[in-house]
Amino acid sequence: MAELVAAIGVPHSPHYPSQFPKDGPEHTSRTYRAVKDHLDAARADAIVVIANDHFNTFFMNNFPTFAIGVAEAAFGPNDQTRMPHYDLTVHAELASHVLKVGMNEGFDFAVAQEFGVDHAVLVPLYYLTDGVKTPVVPIWVNAFVKPLPSARRCYALGQMLKSAIGSLPRDMRVAVLATGHFSLEIAGPRVDPGERHGTPDIGWSKHVHRRIKNAEITDLVTEATPERMWKAGNIGGELLNWIVMLGTVGTAKPCYLADHDDADGHTFAAWSLRQ
């Protein structure tokens, strides 16, 4: 059977690749490298990436609450992120299995069979892998088109994902990667003066970081209401990507957790889940 070996959570700002070289001395570059060490140690054969689309793969004509990519290949970035282009391999067998198990357990995914992925998938893979060669399975969560799915539902999806990985009849190692921020405003009223973005609620971001550190995930799921996340910015719903990932982690504490970035509120974390 397949084994869930690691879980990872990182931010996915589209500005990073043009600002922070992978091998650079900057704090962001170094922190991604620290997380990469944990992912490398897990020797994953496939990575399930849990992210939100920013109107690049989907649009409001049909915007999915939860979607999964079931294909042989994908490409990206399909937005204007300044970074290298990649042709990705999708792990179709794992994707198809997660879809089937999900449907059976009441998670009615939308299914994408031909798609590009945006910065939310590719910026983390750019930093955390060597050339984005490991096959991936993208799962998209609606994190910013109201109404959002509930945190409880996202956590349950993560629990389903864990059992789906564990029931795939193939000897392989799987990592789960969630991407996003906890407090971020893009182009809304709470941006910084003269800027396109702001961090309206660093206190909430710090609080979420502490919940993760102490593995107080049940409390976090209760607290992460749509109203609370919105107070942390119009992109604050990206916490839901993390909550799906935390559903795969259970009660484990992270084996790596970078100190909270009190300026940007970014969190970088890794869990080793090898039995």
């Binding site: 204007q80 088109v145 893009i186 809304g188 003066p193 003269g194």
Partner: protein, 89 residues
């Protein structure tokens, strides 16, 4: 206003260079055939991002217009005009 068509227009502006160029050259002409309400059209052409936000245009899409200073809106003027906007219900 449903705001859907404005969302769609902003989305198209991000992904479609020819529409972007047309808006840069002649904004009123470029959006003449779009099925917008009078209020939406006026708000776009005057760069009234506060009203557009309050009418329900998604900020992530609306913000795209500042990438190329479309409709005369720069990042700085956008931030200034949006700061007192109220969240739509």
């Amino acid at each position: 206003m449903s705001a859907y068509q404005v969302n769609k227009l902003c989305h198209r502006l991000y992904h479609d260079r020819s529409l972007r160029d047309a808006v840069k050259a002649n904004p009123a002409k470029a959006i003449a055939d779009w099925p917008l309400s009078d209020a939406e059209r006026t708000a776009l052409l005057t760069g009234d991002v506060r009203q557009l936000y309050e009418s329900g245009v998604h900020p992530f899409l609306l913000g795209h217009i500042t990438r190329w200073d479309l409709f005369g809106v720069t990042a700085a003027t956008y931030a200034e005009r949006i700061k007192d906007a109220k969240d739509p219900n």
